[in-house]
Amino acid sequence: MAGVTAARLSDTLAALPQGALAPAAADGRDRLAHAVARLTYGITPDLHGEAQRLGVDAFIAQQLTPNALDDSALDAPLAPWRAILDATPAALFAQYENDRDVIVGALTGGTTIRAMHSTRQLHERMVYFFSNHFNVYIGKAITVFLKVEEDRLVIRPNTMTTFRQILGASAKSPAMLVYLDNARSDKRSPNENYARELLELHTMGVNGGYSEDDVKAVARAFTGWSMRGRTEGDNAFTYAYRRGFHDDDAKTILGAIIPAGGGERDGELVLDLLAAHPSTARTLATKIARRFVADAPPEALVERLAAGFLVSGGDITSLLRDLFAADEFWDAPPKLKHPFEYVVSVLRALSFQVSNEQRFGRTISGALEAMGNLPFAWPAPNGYPDVAGAWRDGLITRWNAAISAVSGDIGGAGMDIDRVLRLFDDNGVPFETEPVVNFMGGYLLGRPLTSDESGVTVRFARESGDGVDAQIASGIALLLASPAFQYR
């Protein structure tokens, strides 16, 4: 008898997704909800069912191997942007030299669409991460024409490879060469802009152990790494090494001697040196942990991640795997969404679909600009800040975004109301104010509403008109504007 029960119990347990019985985290979310909140841009009606079916471990494993995930659902919504997003800098320059806003709309729209609809959510998060780590500001000079290709060829394919690979791609990226002025650097008087930010921001960190002399020597090593000009036809705006610009004398960098006569290879040697440096491992470990765990990531976690990063030869996916296996990840405190993350999470939660891509591009660029988080629009090379202090002053813009969203139409995109209603149906939620508000609270926050939260929200909803639809819309707006939904 006891044996039968035990067998049944073990059958039942085996049928459950892994992690389903894991204890809830300190903030009241279970592990699955925590993983969804941290690895993705937020819950959607589809993901709500899909993640439950997979369970937390399989969900994370899938996200760590993005290329195995079918992403064909993205083809249709992205199609209208393709002509611009697939174009070369030369073609964009020829067509849009005096119409840059069109490119900004496509870059912003395309980035937002991908964050909304891609199944490869972790990959999209890493695109955001590296777009900021290797920040290029599209407001400078001609970078907006170059950024489209950089996004396509430098950042997206390399976000989950090795750090040396994405670092090398960035160093030769025309967008970076223009943004940090290396394209103009020659041996007569080397430009230090790229060299300094390469050391300070991309690799070793400001206190990573390099000197002003190292900055100057690195600048000399990269002289000649340049770009073909606009007059060079189909080759315009592509990487070019200019021998005549290069300082070919010997250099000493971080104590290592780069012998004379190395030519273009000097820069590669510097990148080898920097990519393998322990200070670089620390920089990456700190920033990844800040992105996924906490503004001030635990020191022990950073040390472990950095050590693993060095052992793996700078493998980014293995860094993420180590991170998601760490207790600190699961015990993480609330992490404030950046405005871009917030807006996308609202659009995902209410199943927004783009109906007019140009209008949507304008709407979303305008909104994100007003919130201070338009992609690729941070002027300084350090990228958008990743701590709550930089974003918590903008609550009013988030509250207004929540109000706009429940209107169902944000200019070029609308809520798929049938999909939201089916979510209620699938979960057996009667279409009444209190049950819907409480269900949506759990859906949006990944945990049940507390009785206080529920009380305030239901009361507000009930006082918002006589119709149950108006009450529900108001309740959802309040939930989207509530503090708990500001965090990941």
Partner: protein
């Protein structure tokens, strides 16, 4: 599906009147009136406006040392011609026989000559970093070389003078996030536009939603409680300013750019007497590694924005400049020698500017170290002879009624610089 929710019905929801302005009181607050200052807003001193030129402004081409041959030798392509040069399209505007203003700063010359504006040359932060981010961080926190004090110099001043029942808009940071200098016990308001600072929807629905949000944010386990309270109070206060009908005075006209808009809004807030004590405004784009330009070009355009904004504000404020002090900072100056890209790399000493009704005199202040090789910092950059904290300390003490300078600039004993009058 048995549910009755329709697209139309959801659309009707909360936001039938989305975009409508909140109800406003009859008289805009900026209008001249015989105000009885509320007890909790007793004037403590000048309103402080701190402007930050992000990127490391090349002060050598702004306040041009035209008496230095070394300046011309180091900058064959970028130097601004001497005031008496022949054949040059544009020349420095002489200030005192040794220094001259860049021609794009022309709107500032009359203010300078009337004693309302001074540049303290060879000033800056003594820490030797050439990193933008480190240098800005040290400068705004007011603690060069120190990493543990998280608050900013203005934030500490406001905290030291905090009393119960303060105005919710004591400190405004223009932009989407308040500047690091404002961080402190007082939660500053980050503001892009006064007229947009309200909740969408009709006023009654907005008020109910704010009330509900207040209750929810009071339950927050994270770090948003104070921001939500500050936002709520600021919505109420800014609605009284009546900015959309604000008209600058004394025929002042502001250009259409973010910098000018921030100054125009600052002027309106000062006139509205809503308790503003400090405002931070950024002007970015000064990191001129290539194609900096000389008398015209990239940096000249930025200088044009700076000068026009300051001059418009000065005119708009008129007599009220008596109670206003503006300070302009940048994280560092730039290298004396131009580089191969016709730009300049990161340097050390720069210039800070002060515009106030209470200067000892206008013109160029500070001790000029010269540009001889031996006088340069590291043999290549303008040296610093005035610690920027000395100027700010004098401003805080003489103009803002501070008695807490030793807390605002810890580990620094300020030296009098004779820039401000008491």
């Amino acid at each position: 599906m048995t549910q009755t929710l329709s697209r139309r019905a959801l659309l009707r929801g909360l936001t039938a009147a989305a975009g409508a302005a909140a109800a406003q009181s009859a008289l805009p607050a900026w209008m001249p009136r015989y105000a009885f200052a509320p007890l909790n807003q007793a004037a403590r001193g000048d309103v402080l406006i701190s402007i930050f030129l992000r990127g490391g402004a090349d002060s050598l081409n702004m306040v041009v040392p035209h008496g230095e041959d070394a300046y011309y030798a180091a900058r064959p392509r970028l130097a601004i011609a001497r005031p008496d040069a022949t054949g040059a399209d544009a020349r420095a505007l002489d200030i005192d026989g040794f220094f001259g203003l860049h021609p794009a700063l022309a709107p500032l010359l009359p203010i300078m000559q009337a004693g309302g504006l001074a540049a303290v040359h060879a000033a800056g932060s003594p820490h030797d970093t050439r990193s933008h981010f480190e240098a800005m961080d040290f400068m705004e926190r007011g603690t060069p070389g120190e990493y543990h004090i998280g608050t900013g110099w203005i934030g500490r001043h406001l905290a030291a003078t905090q009393t119960p029942g303060e105005s919710p808009v004591r400190a405004i940071g223009f932009g989407t996030a308040a500047q690091a200098a404002l961080r402190g016990a007082v939660t500053p308001v980050a503001l892009k536009s006064i007229v947009d600072y309200h909740l969408g929807g009709d006023a009654a629905a907005g008020a109910r939603m704010l009330d509900a949000l207040n209750q929810l944010y009071a339950l927050d386990s994270g770090t948003l409680i104070e921001s939500a309270q500050a936002t709520n109070s600021a919505i109420e206060t800014l609605a009284r300013v009546g900015y959309d009908s604000y008209r600058p005075q004394n025929n002042a006209t502001y250009l259409e750019n973010d910098f000018a808009a921030a100054l125009r809004q600052t002027a309106a807030l000062i006139r509205a007497d809503v308790g503003l004590e400090a405002a931070c405004i950024d002007l970015g784009g000064w990191d001129t590694h290539v194609q900096q330009g000389g008398a015209t070009g990239m940096q000249a355009r930025l200088m044009g924005q700076l000068a026009s904004g300051l001059a418009s504000f000065h005119a708009d404020m008129g007599d009220s400049m008596r109670a206003v002090s503006v300070v302009v900072l940048s994280e560092f100056g730039r290298r004396l020698h131009e580089n191969s890209g016709a730009g300049t790399d990161h340097g050390h000493g720069g210039a800070m500017w002060v515009m106030s009704g209470s200067l000892t005199r206008g013109g160029v202040l500070g001790r000029w170290p010269g540009l001889d090789q031996a006088a340069l910092d590291r043999g290549e950059d303008l040296a610093i002879t005035t610690d920027y904290r000395d100027v700010l300390a004098e401003l805080l003490t003489l103009r803002l009624g501070s008695t807490a300078v030793s807390e605002i600039f810890p580990n620094h004993a300020p030296t009098g610089v004779g820039v401000f009058r008491g």
